[in-house]
Symmetry: C2
Subunit: 283 residues, 2 copies
Protein backbone atom coordinates (compact mmCIF):
# COMPACT_ATOMS: atom_id res chain seq x y z
CA UNK A 1 0.00 0.00 0.00
CA UNK A 2 1.44 3.35 -0.98
CA UNK A 3 1.62 6.20 1.51
CA UNK A 4 -0.93 8.07 -0.55
CA UNK A 5 -3.47 5.23 -0.33
CA UNK A 6 -2.74 4.86 3.35
CA UNK A 7 -3.53 8.50 3.94
CA UNK A 8 -7.04 7.87 2.62
CA UNK A 9 -7.60 5.11 5.13
CA UNK A 10 -6.53 6.71 8.37
CA UNK A 11 -7.68 5.00 11.53
CA UNK A 12 -8.03 6.42 15.06
CA UNK A 13 -5.39 4.03 16.43
CA UNK A 14 -2.67 5.44 14.17
CA UNK A 15 -0.24 7.85 15.84
CA UNK A 16 -0.21 11.61 15.61
CA UNK A 17 3.12 12.56 14.00
CA UNK A 18 4.90 15.60 15.38
CA UNK A 19 8.05 17.14 13.95
CA UNK A 20 10.46 19.91 14.68
CA UNK A 21 13.95 20.87 13.55
CA UNK A 22 15.15 19.65 16.93
CA UNK A 23 13.96 19.15 20.48
CA UNK A 24 11.91 22.33 21.00
CA UNK A 25 8.78 20.72 19.55
CA UNK A 26 8.60 18.51 22.63
CA UNK A 27 6.85 21.49 24.25
CA UNK A 28 4.04 20.83 21.76
CA UNK A 29 4.15 17.10 22.58
CA UNK A 30 3.72 17.99 26.27
CA UNK A 31 0.67 20.12 25.43
CA UNK A 32 -0.88 17.42 23.19
CA UNK A 33 -0.35 14.75 25.84
CA UNK A 34 -2.06 16.94 28.42
CA UNK A 35 -5.07 17.55 26.18
CA UNK A 36 -5.22 14.18 24.37
CA UNK A 37 -3.71 11.61 26.76
CA UNK A 38 -4.98 8.60 24.77
CA UNK A 39 -3.24 9.51 21.51
CA UNK A 40 -0.10 7.66 20.45
CA UNK A 41 2.51 10.19 19.43
CA UNK A 42 5.51 9.78 17.16
CA UNK A 43 7.97 12.65 17.49
CA UNK A 44 10.69 13.24 14.92
CA UNK A 45 13.38 15.86 15.56
CA UNK A 46 15.63 16.71 12.62
CA UNK A 47 18.62 17.26 14.90
CA UNK A 48 21.10 16.35 12.12
CA UNK A 49 20.15 19.53 10.28
CA UNK A 50 19.03 21.91 13.03
CA UNK A 51 18.51 24.78 13.33
CA UNK A 52 16.05 25.63 10.56
CA UNK A 53 15.60 29.21 11.81
CA UNK A 54 18.48 30.81 9.91
CA UNK A 55 18.08 28.91 6.61
CA UNK A 56 16.23 29.76 3.41
CA UNK A 57 12.72 28.84 2.27
CA UNK A 58 13.80 26.21 -0.26
CA UNK A 59 15.94 24.41 2.32
CA UNK A 60 13.20 24.53 4.96
CA UNK A 61 10.58 23.28 2.46
CA UNK A 62 12.84 20.42 1.37
CA UNK A 63 13.64 19.36 4.94
CA UNK A 64 9.98 19.61 5.98
CA UNK A 65 8.84 17.44 3.05
CA UNK A 66 11.47 14.83 3.89
CA UNK A 67 10.62 14.71 7.59
CA UNK A 68 6.86 14.69 6.97
CA UNK A 69 7.52 11.81 4.54
CA UNK A 70 9.24 9.87 7.31
CA UNK A 71 6.25 10.48 9.61
CA UNK A 72 3.84 9.37 6.88
CA UNK A 73 5.92 6.19 6.60
CA UNK A 74 5.38 5.70 10.35
CA UNK A 75 1.64 5.71 9.64
CA UNK A 76 0.84 9.14 11.06
CA UNK A 77 -2.89 9.93 10.74
CA UNK A 78 -2.22 13.64 11.24
CA UNK A 79 1.02 15.62 11.20
CA UNK A 80 1.82 18.50 13.52
CA UNK A 81 4.53 20.89 12.37
CA UNK A 82 5.76 21.72 15.87
CA UNK A 83 8.26 24.22 14.54
CA UNK A 84 7.39 27.84 13.90
CA UNK A 85 10.01 28.21 11.17
CA UNK A 86 8.76 25.19 9.21
CA UNK A 87 5.13 26.28 9.81
CA UNK A 88 5.90 29.79 8.60
CA UNK A 89 7.78 28.75 5.46
CA UNK A 90 6.82 25.21 4.46
CA UNK A 91 3.14 24.69 5.34
CA UNK A 92 1.73 25.65 1.91
CA UNK A 93 4.14 23.24 0.20
CA UNK A 94 3.33 20.46 2.71
CA UNK A 95 -0.38 20.91 2.01
CA UNK A 96 0.29 20.66 -1.74
CA UNK A 97 2.14 17.35 -1.33
CA UNK A 98 0.34 15.48 1.46
CA UNK A 99 -3.28 14.46 1.87
CA UNK A 100 -2.87 13.70 5.58
CA UNK A 101 -4.14 16.64 7.66
CA UNK A 102 -1.19 18.86 8.59
CA UNK A 103 -1.36 21.45 11.36
CA UNK A 104 1.19 24.19 11.95
CA UNK A 105 1.68 26.38 14.99
CA UNK A 106 1.29 29.83 13.41
CA UNK A 107 -2.45 29.96 12.79
CA UNK A 108 -3.46 28.76 16.25
CA UNK A 109 -0.95 31.15 17.84
CA UNK A 110 -2.28 34.04 15.78
CA UNK A 111 -5.89 33.24 16.71
CA UNK A 112 -5.05 33.04 20.41
CA UNK A 113 -3.13 36.32 20.27
CA UNK A 114 -6.01 38.14 18.59
CA UNK A 115 -8.44 36.74 21.17
CA UNK A 116 -6.20 37.95 24.03
CA UNK A 117 -5.19 41.39 22.81
CA UNK A 118 -7.32 44.25 24.19
CA UNK A 119 -5.22 47.15 22.88
CA UNK A 120 -4.69 45.45 19.50
CA UNK A 121 -0.89 45.71 19.79
CA UNK A 122 0.73 42.28 19.50
CA UNK A 123 4.45 41.46 19.74
CA UNK A 124 5.95 38.42 18.05
CA UNK A 125 9.35 36.90 18.84
CA UNK A 126 10.85 34.11 16.75
CA UNK A 127 13.79 32.96 14.68
CA UNK A 128 15.18 35.11 11.90
CA UNK A 129 13.44 33.00 9.23
CA UNK A 130 10.06 32.99 11.01
CA UNK A 131 10.08 36.76 11.51
CA UNK A 132 11.35 37.47 7.98
CA UNK A 133 8.54 35.32 6.53
CA UNK A 134 5.89 37.69 7.91
CA UNK A 135 3.66 34.65 8.53
CA UNK A 136 2.37 35.84 11.93
CA UNK A 137 1.57 39.34 10.62
CA UNK A 138 -0.39 37.83 7.73
CA UNK A 139 -2.25 35.36 9.97
CA UNK A 140 -3.14 38.07 12.53
CA UNK A 141 -4.10 40.71 10.01
CA UNK A 142 -6.24 38.19 8.10
CA UNK A 143 -8.37 38.02 11.27
CA UNK A 144 -8.23 41.75 12.11
CA UNK A 145 -6.39 44.09 9.69
CA UNK A 146 -6.41 46.88 12.28
CA UNK A 147 -4.09 45.11 14.72
CA UNK A 148 -0.51 46.44 14.99
CA UNK A 149 2.06 43.63 14.88
CA UNK A 150 5.57 44.31 16.21
CA UNK A 151 8.09 41.61 15.31
CA UNK A 152 11.51 40.87 16.74
CA UNK A 153 13.91 38.17 15.54
CA UNK A 154 15.77 36.60 18.50
CA UNK A 155 18.53 34.49 16.89
CA UNK A 156 20.47 33.83 20.11
CA UNK A 157 17.61 32.49 22.22
CA UNK A 158 17.65 28.96 20.76
CA UNK A 159 21.41 28.44 21.40
CA UNK A 160 21.02 29.86 24.94
CA UNK A 161 18.07 27.57 25.67
CA UNK A 162 19.89 24.55 24.22
CA UNK A 163 22.71 25.29 26.66
CA UNK A 164 20.14 25.17 29.48
CA UNK A 165 21.01 28.79 30.43
CA UNK A 166 17.43 29.62 31.38
CA UNK A 167 18.26 32.13 34.17
CA UNK A 168 21.83 33.04 33.19
CA UNK A 169 22.76 36.73 33.23
CA UNK A 170 23.65 36.51 29.53
CA UNK A 171 20.16 35.23 28.73
CA UNK A 172 18.62 38.05 30.79
CA UNK A 173 20.75 40.61 28.93
CA UNK A 174 19.78 39.21 25.51
CA UNK A 175 16.10 39.09 26.51
CA UNK A 176 16.27 42.78 27.48
CA UNK A 177 17.93 43.52 24.16
CA UNK A 178 15.14 41.73 22.27
CA UNK A 179 12.10 42.59 24.42
CA UNK A 180 12.68 46.16 25.61
CA UNK A 181 11.86 47.66 22.16
CA UNK A 182 8.59 45.67 22.09
CA UNK A 183 7.68 46.80 25.62
CA UNK A 184 8.46 50.40 24.58
CA UNK A 185 5.97 49.94 21.73
CA UNK A 186 3.30 49.19 24.39
CA UNK A 187 2.33 45.72 23.19
CA UNK A 188 -0.25 44.02 25.42
CA UNK A 189 0.28 40.49 24.03
CA UNK A 190 3.50 38.64 23.23
CA UNK A 191 3.54 35.51 21.06
CA UNK A 192 6.32 33.02 21.80
CA UNK A 193 6.85 32.25 18.11
CA UNK A 194 9.36 29.42 18.53
CA UNK A 195 8.75 26.08 20.21
CA UNK A 196 11.92 26.50 22.27
CA UNK A 197 10.69 29.65 23.96
CA UNK A 198 8.14 28.13 26.37
CA UNK A 199 11.21 26.87 28.28
CA UNK A 200 11.96 30.56 29.00
CA UNK A 201 8.35 31.36 29.85
CA UNK A 202 8.94 32.14 33.51
CA UNK A 203 11.99 34.35 32.84
CA UNK A 204 10.16 36.23 30.09
CA UNK A 205 7.02 36.56 32.20
CA UNK A 206 9.01 38.06 35.11
CA UNK A 207 10.64 40.52 32.73
CA UNK A 208 7.59 41.80 30.86
CA UNK A 209 5.30 41.98 33.90
CA UNK A 210 1.65 41.09 34.35
CA UNK A 211 0.22 43.61 31.91
CA UNK A 212 1.47 41.74 28.85
CA UNK A 213 -0.20 38.39 28.12
CA UNK A 214 2.07 35.60 26.89
CA UNK A 215 0.75 33.38 24.10
CA UNK A 216 2.37 29.97 23.93
CA UNK A 217 1.87 28.44 20.50
CA UNK A 218 2.27 24.92 21.93
CA UNK A 219 -0.97 25.03 23.95
CA UNK A 220 -2.97 26.56 21.14
CA UNK A 221 -1.65 24.09 18.63
CA UNK A 222 -2.73 21.19 20.85
CA UNK A 223 -6.25 22.65 20.95
CA UNK A 224 -6.29 22.69 17.15
CA UNK A 225 -5.13 19.06 17.01
CA UNK A 226 -8.09 18.10 19.22
CA UNK A 227 -10.44 20.06 16.96
CA UNK A 228 -9.19 18.43 13.74
CA UNK A 229 -9.21 14.91 15.22
CA UNK A 230 -12.84 15.40 16.28
CA UNK A 231 -13.86 16.83 12.89
CA UNK A 232 -12.22 13.95 11.03
CA UNK A 233 -13.43 11.34 13.57
CA UNK A 234 -9.85 10.22 14.09
CA UNK A 235 -9.72 10.69 17.87
CA UNK A 236 -8.29 7.67 19.64
CA UNK A 237 -10.82 6.35 22.19
CA UNK A 238 -8.62 3.55 23.52
CA UNK A 239 -8.95 2.77 27.21
CA UNK A 240 -5.23 3.27 27.91
CA UNK A 241 -2.74 6.13 27.95
CA UNK A 242 -1.06 6.81 24.59
CA UNK A 243 2.55 5.90 23.82
CA UNK A 244 5.22 8.39 22.95
CA UNK A 245 7.92 7.34 20.49
CA UNK A 246 10.81 9.68 19.80
CA UNK A 247 13.24 9.55 16.88
CA UNK A 248 16.00 12.00 16.02
CA UNK A 249 18.09 12.25 12.85
CA UNK A 250 21.31 12.64 14.88
CA UNK A 251 22.09 10.91 18.15
CA UNK A 252 23.95 13.60 20.08
CA UNK A 253 21.85 16.38 21.44
CA UNK A 254 22.79 17.36 24.98
CA UNK A 255 19.67 19.52 25.16
CA UNK A 256 17.47 16.44 24.85
CA UNK A 257 17.88 15.40 28.48
CA UNK A 258 17.16 18.91 29.74
CA UNK A 259 13.97 19.11 27.69
CA UNK A 260 12.85 15.62 28.74
CA UNK A 261 13.37 16.50 32.41
CA UNK A 262 11.80 19.98 32.31
CA UNK A 263 8.78 18.72 30.35
CA UNK A 264 8.43 15.53 32.46
CA UNK A 265 7.95 13.31 29.43
CA UNK A 266 10.00 10.36 30.76
CA UNK A 267 11.17 9.29 27.34
CA UNK A 268 12.83 5.92 27.79
CA UNK A 269 14.22 5.27 24.34
CA UNK A 270 15.27 7.48 21.44
CA UNK A 271 15.48 5.97 17.98
CA UNK A 272 17.59 7.30 15.13
CA UNK A 273 16.31 7.90 11.60
CA UNK A 274 18.81 8.71 8.88
CA UNK A 275 17.74 11.32 6.34
CA UNK A 276 19.83 10.13 3.42
CA UNK A 277 21.91 12.70 1.60
CA UNK A 278 23.57 12.47 -1.83
CA UNK A 279 24.72 9.01 -2.82
CA UNK A 280 28.45 8.48 -3.14
CA UNK A 281 27.96 6.29 -6.22
CA UNK A 282 30.50 8.26 -8.24
CA UNK A 283 33.39 7.47 -5.91
CA UNK B 1 36.12 9.88 -16.33
CA UNK B 2 35.21 8.90 -12.79
CA UNK B 3 36.19 11.02 -9.83
CA UNK B 4 38.58 8.30 -8.73
CA UNK B 5 40.42 8.29 -12.07
CA UNK B 6 40.44 12.06 -12.10
CA UNK B 7 42.15 12.13 -8.73
CA UNK B 8 45.07 10.22 -10.23
CA UNK B 9 45.58 12.85 -12.90
CA UNK B 10 45.64 16.04 -10.89
CA UNK B 11 47.13 19.08 -12.57
CA UNK B 12 48.52 22.30 -11.03
CA UNK B 13 45.84 24.44 -12.68
CA UNK B 14 43.01 22.63 -10.87
CA UNK B 15 41.55 24.45 -7.89
CA UNK B 16 42.21 23.80 -4.22
CA UNK B 17 38.88 22.79 -2.70
CA UNK B 18 38.08 24.14 0.76
CA UNK B 19 35.07 23.21 2.84
CA UNK B 20 33.48 24.08 6.14
CA UNK B 21 30.10 23.59 7.75
CA UNK B 22 29.49 27.26 7.06
CA UNK B 23 31.30 30.52 6.57
CA UNK B 24 34.00 30.25 9.24
CA UNK B 25 36.35 28.38 6.90
CA UNK B 26 36.75 31.62 4.93
CA UNK B 27 39.39 32.50 7.54
CA UNK B 28 41.38 29.58 6.10
CA UNK B 29 40.71 30.82 2.56
CA UNK B 30 42.12 34.23 3.59
CA UNK B 31 45.27 32.54 4.93
CA UNK B 32 45.70 30.36 1.82
CA UNK B 33 45.23 33.35 -0.49
CA UNK B 34 47.90 35.26 1.44
CA UNK B 35 50.39 32.41 1.21
CA UNK B 36 49.45 31.01 -2.22
CA UNK B 37 48.04 33.93 -4.20
CA UNK B 38 48.18 32.09 -7.54
CA UNK B 39 45.99 29.16 -6.51
CA UNK B 40 42.41 28.99 -7.70
CA UNK B 41 40.18 28.24 -4.74
CA UNK B 42 36.74 26.67 -4.64
CA UNK B 43 35.03 27.16 -1.28
CA UNK B 44 31.98 25.14 -0.29
CA UNK B 45 30.08 26.01 2.89
CA UNK B 46 27.44 23.50 4.01
CA UNK B 47 25.21 26.25 5.36
CA UNK B 48 22.06 24.16 4.82
CA UNK B 49 23.18 21.81 7.59
CA UNK B 50 25.35 23.98 9.84
CA UNK B 51 26.49 23.83 12.53
CA UNK B 52 28.39 20.54 12.64
CA UNK B 53 29.81 21.25 16.09
CA UNK B 54 26.96 19.79 18.14
CA UNK B 55 26.24 16.73 15.98
CA UNK B 56 27.45 13.13 16.17
CA UNK B 57 30.37 11.43 14.43
CA UNK B 58 28.23 9.50 11.92
CA UNK B 59 26.41 12.65 10.83
CA UNK B 60 29.64 14.64 10.53
CA UNK B 61 31.33 11.83 8.57
CA UNK B 62 28.38 11.56 6.20
CA UNK B 63 28.20 15.31 5.60
CA UNK B 64 31.97 15.56 5.10
CA UNK B 65 31.96 12.74 2.53
CA UNK B 66 29.11 14.39 0.65
CA UNK B 67 30.72 17.83 0.60
CA UNK B 68 34.17 16.47 -0.30
CA UNK B 69 32.44 14.57 -3.12
CA UNK B 70 31.00 17.84 -4.42
CA UNK B 71 34.49 19.41 -4.33
CA UNK B 72 35.96 16.40 -6.14
CA UNK B 73 33.28 16.90 -8.78
CA UNK B 74 34.53 20.50 -9.12
CA UNK B 75 37.93 19.06 -9.99
CA UNK B 76 39.71 19.87 -6.72
CA UNK B 77 43.37 18.71 -6.79
CA UNK B 78 43.55 18.91 -3.00
CA UNK B 79 40.86 19.29 -0.37
CA UNK B 80 41.17 21.38 2.78
CA UNK B 81 38.81 20.53 5.61
CA UNK B 82 38.60 24.09 6.95
CA UNK B 83 36.42 23.01 9.84
CA UNK B 84 37.83 21.78 13.11
CA UNK B 85 34.81 19.61 13.86
CA UNK B 86 34.97 17.80 10.50
CA UNK B 87 38.77 17.54 10.81
CA UNK B 88 38.47 16.09 14.30
CA UNK B 89 35.78 13.54 13.48
CA UNK B 90 35.75 12.79 9.75
CA UNK B 91 39.35 12.96 8.51
CA UNK B 92 40.14 9.22 8.87
CA UNK B 93 36.97 8.33 6.94
CA UNK B 94 37.74 10.93 4.24
CA UNK B 95 41.21 9.45 3.81
CA UNK B 96 39.69 5.98 3.44
CA UNK B 97 37.36 7.14 0.67
CA UNK B 98 39.33 9.69 -1.35
CA UNK B 99 42.68 9.48 -3.11
CA UNK B 100 42.94 13.27 -3.49
CA UNK B 101 45.19 14.71 -0.75
CA UNK B 102 43.03 15.93 2.12
CA UNK B 103 44.33 18.31 4.79
CA UNK B 104 42.59 19.07 8.06
CA UNK B 105 43.22 21.87 10.51
CA UNK B 106 43.93 19.84 13.66
CA UNK B 107 47.39 18.47 12.93
CA UNK B 108 48.90 21.77 11.77
CA UNK B 109 47.33 23.56 14.76
CA UNK B 110 48.72 20.94 17.13
CA UNK B 111 52.21 21.19 15.64
CA UNK B 112 52.21 25.00 15.88
CA UNK B 113 51.00 24.88 19.49
CA UNK B 114 53.73 22.45 20.52
CA UNK B 115 56.33 24.62 18.79
CA UNK B 116 55.07 27.71 20.68
CA UNK B 117 54.54 26.32 24.15
CA UNK B 118 57.42 26.90 26.57
CA UNK B 119 55.72 25.70 29.75
CA UNK B 120 54.12 22.74 27.98
CA UNK B 121 50.62 23.75 29.08
CA UNK B 122 48.33 24.20 26.07
CA UNK B 123 44.68 25.28 26.12
CA UNK B 124 42.23 24.29 23.37
CA UNK B 125 38.88 25.93 22.69
CA UNK B 126 36.42 24.54 20.17
CA UNK B 127 32.92 23.25 19.55
CA UNK B 128 31.41 20.57 21.75
CA UNK B 129 32.06 17.85 19.12
CA UNK B 130 35.69 18.91 18.50
CA UNK B 131 36.53 18.96 22.21
CA UNK B 132 34.67 15.71 22.93
CA UNK B 133 36.60 13.98 20.13
CA UNK B 134 39.90 14.51 21.94
CA UNK B 135 41.56 15.02 18.53
CA UNK B 136 43.78 17.92 19.64
CA UNK B 137 44.96 16.07 22.76
CA UNK B 138 45.89 13.05 20.66
CA UNK B 139 47.67 15.14 18.02
CA UNK B 140 49.62 17.15 20.63
CA UNK B 141 50.51 14.17 22.80
CA UNK B 142 51.61 12.19 19.75
CA UNK B 143 54.31 14.86 19.35
CA UNK B 144 55.10 15.27 23.06
CA UNK B 145 53.30 13.04 25.58
CA UNK B 146 54.45 15.24 28.47
CA UNK B 147 52.42 18.26 27.43
CA UNK B 148 49.35 19.09 29.53
CA UNK B 149 46.31 19.82 27.36
CA UNK B 150 43.39 21.73 28.89
CA UNK B 151 40.24 21.68 26.77
CA UNK B 152 37.14 23.84 26.90
CA UNK B 153 34.04 23.49 24.72
CA UNK B 154 32.61 26.93 23.81
CA UNK B 155 29.21 26.16 22.25
CA UNK B 156 27.94 29.76 22.26
CA UNK B 157 30.86 31.40 20.47
CA UNK B 158 29.79 30.41 16.95
CA UNK B 159 26.26 31.83 17.32
CA UNK B 160 27.68 35.03 18.86
CA UNK B 161 30.22 35.43 16.04
CA UNK B 162 27.56 34.72 13.41
CA UNK B 163 25.55 37.57 14.92
CA UNK B 164 28.59 39.83 14.43
CA UNK B 165 28.70 40.51 18.21
CA UNK B 166 32.51 40.61 18.31
CA UNK B 167 32.82 43.18 21.13
CA UNK B 168 29.39 42.85 22.71
CA UNK B 169 29.24 42.65 26.50
CA UNK B 170 27.52 39.26 26.23
CA UNK B 171 30.42 37.93 24.15
CA UNK B 172 32.91 39.29 26.71
CA UNK B 173 30.98 37.61 29.53
CA UNK B 174 30.87 34.26 27.73
CA UNK B 175 34.58 34.51 26.87
CA UNK B 176 35.37 35.05 30.55
CA UNK B 177 33.19 32.06 31.41
CA UNK B 178 35.08 29.87 28.91
CA UNK B 179 38.63 31.25 29.23
CA UNK B 180 39.05 32.10 32.92
CA UNK B 181 39.38 28.42 33.96
CA UNK B 182 42.08 27.90 31.30
CA UNK B 183 43.96 31.02 32.45
CA UNK B 184 43.71 29.74 36.04
CA UNK B 185 45.37 26.54 34.84
CA UNK B 186 48.35 28.66 33.72
CA UNK B 187 48.30 27.72 30.04
CA UNK B 188 50.92 29.56 27.98
CA UNK B 189 49.41 28.74 24.56
CA UNK B 190 45.78 28.82 23.42
CA UNK B 191 44.64 27.08 20.23
CA UNK B 192 41.64 28.66 18.48
CA UNK B 193 40.17 25.27 17.59
CA UNK B 194 37.31 26.50 15.42
CA UNK B 195 37.59 28.41 12.16
CA UNK B 196 35.10 31.00 13.41
CA UNK B 197 37.29 32.03 16.32
CA UNK B 198 39.95 34.05 14.45
CA UNK B 199 37.20 36.65 14.04
CA UNK B 200 37.38 37.09 17.85
CA UNK B 201 41.17 37.09 17.89
CA UNK B 202 41.55 40.69 19.04
CA UNK B 203 38.94 40.38 21.80
CA UNK B 204 40.47 37.11 23.04
CA UNK B 205 43.98 38.50 22.81
CA UNK B 206 43.05 41.54 24.92
CA UNK B 207 41.46 39.26 27.51
CA UNK B 208 44.21 36.69 27.94
CA UNK B 209 47.12 39.15 27.82
CA UNK B 210 50.50 38.96 26.18
CA UNK B 211 51.84 36.00 28.16
CA UNK B 212 49.58 33.50 26.40
CA UNK B 213 50.34 32.86 22.72
CA UNK B 214 47.35 32.46 20.41
CA UNK B 215 47.54 29.72 17.77
CA UNK B 216 45.26 30.29 14.81
CA UNK B 217 44.67 27.03 12.95
CA UNK B 218 43.92 28.91 9.71
CA UNK B 219 47.47 30.20 9.25
CA UNK B 220 49.08 26.88 10.10
CA UNK B 221 46.75 25.00 7.81
CA UNK B 222 47.72 27.27 4.91
CA UNK B 223 51.39 26.50 5.55
CA UNK B 224 50.56 22.78 5.32
CA UNK B 225 48.70 23.31 2.03
CA UNK B 226 51.83 24.97 0.61
CA UNK B 227 53.97 22.06 1.83
CA UNK B 228 51.73 19.38 0.29
CA UNK B 229 51.36 21.22 -3.03
CA UNK B 230 55.16 21.45 -3.28
CA UNK B 231 55.66 17.79 -2.36
CA UNK B 232 53.11 16.65 -4.92
CA UNK B 233 54.30 19.17 -7.54
CA UNK B 234 50.78 20.54 -7.80
CA UNK B 235 51.60 24.19 -7.07
CA UNK B 236 50.02 26.56 -9.55
CA UNK B 237 52.72 28.68 -11.22
CA UNK B 238 50.37 30.75 -13.38
CA UNK B 239 51.33 34.40 -13.92
CA UNK B 240 48.04 35.73 -12.57
CA UNK B 241 46.26 35.91 -9.23
CA UNK B 242 44.06 32.92 -8.46
CA UNK B 243 40.28 33.00 -8.60
CA UNK B 244 38.03 32.41 -5.64
CA UNK B 245 34.70 30.68 -6.24
CA UNK B 246 32.24 30.34 -3.39
CA UNK B 247 29.26 28.00 -3.17
CA UNK B 248 26.90 27.43 -0.26
CA UNK B 249 24.26 24.74 0.23
CA UNK B 250 21.72 27.33 1.46
CA UNK B 251 21.34 30.85 0.17
CA UNK B 252 20.55 32.80 3.33
CA UNK B 253 23.40 33.39 5.68
CA UNK B 254 23.48 36.89 7.10
CA UNK B 255 26.95 36.21 8.52
CA UNK B 256 28.36 35.82 5.01
CA UNK B 257 28.55 39.56 4.35
CA UNK B 258 30.24 40.23 7.68
CA UNK B 259 32.88 37.57 7.03
CA UNK B 260 33.46 38.77 3.47
CA UNK B 261 33.96 42.34 4.70
CA UNK B 262 36.14 41.52 7.72
CA UNK B 263 38.34 39.15 5.69
CA UNK B 264 38.49 41.50 2.67
CA UNK B 265 37.83 38.70 0.19
CA UNK B 266 35.57 40.76 -2.13
CA UNK B 267 33.48 37.78 -3.14
CA UNK B 268 31.32 38.96 -6.01
CA UNK B 269 29.10 35.95 -6.60
CA UNK B 270 27.90 33.09 -4.42
CA UNK B 271 26.65 29.94 -6.10
CA UNK B 272 24.25 27.43 -4.56
CA UNK B 273 24.81 23.68 -4.51
CA UNK B 274 21.99 21.44 -3.36
CA UNK B 275 22.97 18.46 -1.22
CA UNK B 276 20.06 16.21 -2.12
CA UNK B 277 18.19 14.50 0.69
CA UNK B 278 15.79 11.54 0.58
CA UNK B 279 13.75 11.21 -2.58
CA UNK B 280 10.03 11.71 -2.26
CA UNK B 281 9.32 8.89 -4.72
CA UNK B 282 6.90 7.18 -2.35
CA UNK B 283 4.46 10.09 -2.32
Amino acid sequence: MSILEMSNHNRPEQPVGVFDSGIGGLTVVRAIKDLLPKEDLFYLGDTARLPYGNKDRLTIERYSLEIAGLLAAEGAKLIVVACNTASALALPRLHEVFRIPIIGVIESGARAAVAQSQKRRIGIIGTRATIASGAYERAIQAIDPGIAVLSQPCPLLVPLIEEGMFDHSVTIEMLHHYLDPLIAERIDTLVLGCTHYPLLKKTISDMIGEDIVLVDSAENCAAQVLEVLRETRLENRAERPGNLEVALTDSSNPFFKTADRVLELNISRVQTRIVQGVTMAAI
